[in-house]
């Protein structure tokens, strides 16, 4: 199936989960990443149970914060 990850179309295996995609995409800080799937945020606890479908659009947002 074809999905769009960070603006790039990619062919991935059917039934790929968000958790598997995070590994496949070599996300450097998976504990601090927010995932949006078709413009809706996926709860961190649901990465393994969220299965991607053909035509899905995924964005990885890296936590950005700090102090003073």
């Amino acid at each position: 199936m074809i999905i769009t990850v960070a603006g790039n179309k990619k062919e991935v295996k059917d039934g790929l989960t968000v958790a598997e995609l995070i590994v496949q995409e070599n996300v450097e800080t998976p504990l601090y990443v927010t995932v949006s799937l078709n413009d809706e945020f996926v709860e961190n606890g649901a990465f393994e149970s969220t299965t991607l479908k053909d035509g899905d659009t995924v964005e990885f947002l890296y936590f950005m914060g700090g102090g003073c």
Partner: protein, 136 residues
């Protein structure tokens, strides 16, 4: 070296002053030419911590900004935030939460309201290097 157009600097300054006493924050995007970065657009985001000591970018606004960068052919270059009451240097928390060593981290100090100071840092682990920001 990293450059920032004066008009974009003014956007940062005005947003930071408007949000006092809280820290203000946002993203920066532009072009990379060799070792140089050229900021072309500054994004003003909401500090969802609403604190004068911490900041976290609003992820929904972050998503919109990333889409805008892509549509305009801009590369994400890093982020910026203000220090309402402390100098323009990365705090220990800033360093600990700087997960992207390729990013530039701009810090605007409003400690002296009459003399704002903006610097850009490369942060890798506990080491922070001033990147020599040029406002032009």
């Amino acid at each position: 070296m990293i450059t920032l157009p004066k008009a974009e600097y003014q956007k940062i300054l005005e947003h930071a002053e408007k949000n006092l006493p809280e820290e203000a924050c946002g993203l920066i995007a532009g072009r990379i030419e060799g070792a140089d970065k050229h900021i072309e657009k500054v994004y003003l985001l909401t500090n969802i911590d609403h604190s004068n000591e911490h900041f976290s970018l609003d992820p929904r606004e972050q998503l919109l900004a990333i889409k805008d960068m892509r549509q305009n052919g801009l590369a994400p270059l890093g982020n910026w935030h203000s220090h309402p009451e402390s100098p323009s240097r990365p705090s220990e928390e800033d360093k600990r939460l700087a997960y992207d060593s390729k990013a530039s981290y701009l810090i605007l100090s409003l400690q002296d309201r009459a003399k704002p100071v903006l610097n850009s840092f490369h942060i890798e682990g506990v080491d922070a290097t001033n990147e020599g920001l040029v406002i032009e």
